[in-house]
């Protein structure tokens, strides 16, 4: 099978790169071992949350941050690339498969949303179903939990919000389930049912006080979350917001649906369950990659590849028991490794770990070292610690978009020519 471009990885970066390549007219195929980071993450668009001080405006500190970390993806991408990618993303959400589901926010101001433990976490853009949780509203908050859901603990969340100066309390609503180990995904399917959520809202309404907004675990519907959220909000007569909690992430699954639909609408192909197991090279170029899938193996050839396979978290980069580190997908050189003899990890859990910034080595165009037709995007890039910086989706959107632009610009031209 031959394409104009093959993207490896179906996290946010890979889906964005695939969708934008397809929108640019390329015949594109996205190959993935499985679904990516979307199903694990809160689905907020975090651009820059900590430097390590908490960031109130990503746009205001971006240049200074990038200048202080010349190895960071943001130093190569620049703030305009992030802004462009965010605008594209908002358009994709609006044109997406979830009616009226939107993201709100911008790069000028981080929104502080409560986490499931009651910390306040900065994000540039958030789903409209979460927006009323913005700590800046100063609203009184009632955090709602249910004993049936082991993945959300309303009283702890509310107690920590109170410590942060928010007037918060918690209530517990009973939900009858046929199995004790339900997660937010199972409950989201219930919230898709108008009759069920009407019953839930009626039970909850009895426990609410005047002038308080309502925080619920992020589970307000999967097929029509805007419908579910606005219905609950209308029935309760007050602002309602979702609070992301442990995986699987319901808002992350919505994000995946939006990006997959964008890719398909533009004519791109997505193959999940296809792990890239080998690559054919010709000199400094990758000619094709082979996948192992249930039932059959296949080979995908293309003049361009986008490597968006993630880092250690996805297994694309591996540290083995002999302490050797490698890119398992294409065998490309890595950057950011501690020097031999230096520690790989340190004993303080919350300190930055020396292995944290490892990624596939790239030049200033994000082209991989040692493979002239491979552009790297997302968590496969070196130089960032997205879970500490609050920068994961900003990097994914901007680098995925950038990779697509670069490939489209260079397609037809010999690899190595200027974009």
């Amino acid at each position: 099978m031959h394409y104009d471009a093959v993207v490896i990885g179906a996290g946010t970066a890979g889906l964005v790169a695939g969708a934008r390549l397809a929108e640019g007219g390329a015949r594109v195929c996205v190959l993935a071992k499985g679904v990516g980071s979307t199903h694990l993450a809160p689905a907020t668009i975090d651009v820059l949350g900590y430097t390590p001080a908490r960031v109130s405006s990503p746009a205001a500190v971006f240049d200074e941050f990038a200048a202080s970390r010349p190895d960071h993806p943001y130093a190569l991408l620049g703030v305009d690339a992030v802004g462009e990618a965010v605008r594209w993303f908002l358009g994709s959400v609006a044109a997406g498969p979830l009616p009226e589901y939107r993201y709100v926010g911008d790069l000028e101001r981080n929104i502080l949303l409560p986490t499931a433990v009651g910390a306040l976490r900065p994000s540039a853009l958030v789903p409209s179903t979460m927006a009323a949780g913005d700590a800046a509203t100063g609203e009184r908050v009632c955090v709602v939990g249910t004993r049936s859901l082991r993945d959300f603990h309303a009283s702890l969340c509310a107690a920590n919000l109170r410590r942060a100066g928010i007037d918060a309390r918690s209530v517990d609503v009973e939900i009858e389930l046929d199995r004790a180990d339900a997660n937010t995904l199972g409950l989201a399917r219930r919230f898709d049912d108008p009759a069920w959520r009407a019953g839930f809202a009626a039970r909850l309404a009895l426990k609410l006080r005047a002038h308080e907004s309502v925080g619920l675990p992020a589970m307000l519907g999967l097929r029509d979350p805007h419908g579910a959220w606005s219905d609950v909000q209308r029935r309760l007569g007050r602002p309602v917001f979702e609070i992301p909690t442990l995986p699987p992430s319901v808002p992350g699954m919505r994000l995946f649906e939006i990006l997959r639909a964008t890719l398909r609408r533009a004519g791109g192909r997505l193959v999940v369950g296809a792990e890239v197991v080998s690559a054919d090279r010709s000199g400094s170029r990758i000619v094709s990659v082979a996948t192992a899938a249930a039932g059959h193996d296949a080979r995908y050839g293309a003049p361009w590849f986008v490597l968006a396979s993630g880092g250690f978290g996805s297994g694309a980069i591996e540290l083995d028991s002999h302490w050797d580190t490698r890119d398992r997908v294409l065998g490309l050189p890595l950057r950011g490794l501690p020097e031999p003899g230096e520690p790989r990890f340190v004993g303080d859990y919350l300190a930055e770990q020396p292995m944290a910034r490892v990624g596939v080595a790239v030049d200033s165009s994000l082209v991989a070292e040692g493979a002239d037709n491979v552009v790297v995007a997302g968590a496969a890039l070196p130089g960032a610690v997205p879970w500490r910086e609050g920068s994961g989706e900003g990097i994914a959107l901007a680098s995925g978009s950038y990779a697509a632009r670069l490939v489209l610009a260079r397609s037809g031209a010999p690899a190595g020519a200027a974009a």
């Binding site: 049936s148 702890l156 199995r179 004790a180 978290g313 591996e318 028991s321 919350l350």
Partner: protein, 527 residues
């Protein structure tokens, strides 16, 4: 200052000290058991979990071997609930001296260990991952023992008989009245409050720390050589039988399947400081290589956690060389009336987990002499609380309980199948806010995800149970994450590094625990 008065004060809440207190309680004495940390947090909780058949000592230390097999049989009777009857193999690998096998078989005969040579092909049918090049295999009655369960069963039994169990109470001074030890002063870790305990007899059962406790009593020359060893827990039971190399005991020569994991052990390095928990990369590498010899492909499995334990090896004059393994594994009971002319003080140290009951019996027999009140020992026959049914633990036990109650039994820790009611009960019974204490009680967070999913849940439940502030709950969560990381990072590679990265995303990303409202943490301790 608060004060207590008792017949017997036991210092050290490991298997030996708790065993002494249990023995004392069964003999009808009033007893106070104290530890500077949690019960079984020292050496007892830091071993591989092997219930010895004695095979390991059959050639080298026949007396230790005889004690092991006798105690093995007794423990299976009195605490079957803690024991899984997995059996053991001694296997001759290509790296082992083939002549040792016959000496091993003879040693087992001489010391009364049930030992049967089996066809290596049969051993491979039972343990398909075992090195196919083993030339001889002997079956012995090794088992595994969940020492936390054993120790807390005894603690419950002590409490039920009116004894007092005080974890997180460090001894800060030992009282002497002339030539008699009269008790000790304790300091509670949670409050800093001091308590004077007046005791007719004080037992120093502090294991590798016995020298410093004896020093506090003004008794000189009690020297315990701490021998530090590392153990690594792998995420599967690569074997379902304890597999030992058939050779003189050395490093990395045993794999013990216990609960959901298997543990490879161990090294033996002399250390000056029993609180030294250093893990060297060279030790980890050597241990993984040793694992490969017993189970080819061992390095491809996931290593969950590494820890160190210190053997308390009582020093005698002939053991000045560096290898602490050569010091006898038999225990040392020092009656300080005989040794030093000091009344009311007894030290018990050395030994090994499998013989803790015997050590306790010997100690209490000496204590009875001090008390002038000789009463018979009944620990050989009295089952521990929870073991009355006489049934040993089996691997599917937690799963079968869960499957019987799918609709109403919410699992908090999926890896170790810990249900919510059990967590709530443990929190209330122990009155602890320390998730690490709960981990030892229930194995919460000890499986492949190392707390990634259960620790937020457990923190939320802890907080919703009465009386815990958000500060304390956050402190417990962060304390658990920090303690867990100590055992995780030195063996972090392969898929376990993937897991750790997911856990980083959960805790530092989704939950953002690094930015909880106040950076000031409450101290975490049992009240």
């Amino acid at each position: 200052m608060a004060s207590l008065s008792t017949d017997v004060l036991v210092i050290g809440g490991g298997a030996t000290g708790t065993g002494v207190a249990w023995d004392a309680a069964l003999r009808g004495f009033d007893v106070v058991l104290v530890d500077r940390a949690d019960l079984a947090e020292g050496t007892s909780g830091r071993f591989h979990g092997l219930l010895h058949s004695g095979g390991r000592y059959a050639v080298k230390d026949p007396r230790a071997a005889e004690e092991c097999i006798a105690e093995n049989r007794i423990l299976r009777r009195i605490t079957p609930d803690s024991i899984e009857d997995v059996g053991g193999f001694f296997v001759t690998t290509p790296w082992d001296d083939p002549a040792y096998a016959d000496r091993f078989a003879q040693g087992c005969r001489d010391t009364g260990i049930d030992c049967e040579e089996i066809d290596p092909a049969q051993a491979l049918r039972e343990e398909p991952l075992l090195n196919p090049n083993v030339s001889r295999v002997f079956r012995v009655p090794d088992g595994n023992i969940d020492v936390w369960k054993t120790i807390w069963s005894m603690a419950r039994g002590i409490q039920a008989r009116g004894g007092r169990v005080l974890p997180y109470h460090a001894v800060v001074g030992i009282h002497r009245d002339g030539d008699t030890v009269t008790g000790a002063r304790l300091r509670g870790a949670a409050t800093g409050e001091e308590i004077d305990v007046e005791a007719r007899v004080t037992v120093n059962a502090s294991g590798a720390w016995a020298g410093s406790v004896a020093d506090m009593a003004g008794i000189e020359g009690v020297r315990v050589r701490p021998g530090r060893g590392i153990m690594i827990a792998m995420n599967h039971r690569l074997v379902n039988t304890c597999v030992n190399r058939c050779q003189m005991p050395t490093d990395g020569d045993i794999i013990v399947p216990i609960r959901t994991v298997c543990v490879i052990g161990t090294t033996d390095v002399h250390t000056e400081d029993p609180d030294d928990h250093t893990v060297l990369e060279t030790e980890v590498d050597a241990m993984l290589d040793d694992g490969e010899k017993l189970v080819p492909g061992f390095r491809q499995a996931r290593a969950l956690r590494v820890w160190t334990g210190v053997r308390p090896l009582f020093e005698d004059a002939k053991a000045e060389d560096a290898d602490t393994r050569d010091v006898t594994r038999a225990h040392a009971m020092l009656d300080h009336a005989e040794r030093d002319g000091v009344q009311g003080f007894v030290t018990i140290t050395g030994g090994k987990l499998t013989t803790f009951r015997l050590m306790a019996q010997d100690t209490m027999t000496a204590v009875c002499k001090h008390l002038g009140d000789e009463r018979p020992c009944t620990t050989k026959t009295e089952p521990l609380p929870g073991s009355e049914s006489g049934e040993t633990y089996h691997l599917g036990e937690r799963l079968s309980r869960k499957e019987a109650r799918l609709a109403d039994d919410q699992l908090i820790c999926e890896c170790e199948m810990v249900p919510r009611w059990r967590l709530e009960e443990a929190v209330q019974r122990r009155a602890t806010t320390n998730l690490d204490d709960i981990r030892r009680l229930l194995r919460l967070g000890m499986g492949p995800c190392q707390g990634g999913f259960c620790i937020y849940r457990a923190t939320g439940i802890l907080h919703s149970l009465d009386g815990l502030t958000a500060e304390q709950a956050d402190g417990s969560l962060l304390h658990f994450l920090e303690e867990r990381w100590k055992g995780v990072w030195p063996v972090l590679y392969g898929d376990q590094l993937r897991q750790a990265r997911l856990d980083d995303w959960i805790f530092q990303g989704v939950l953002d625990v690094a930015h909880l409202p106040s950076s000031e943490r409450e101290p975490v301790a049992t009240p």
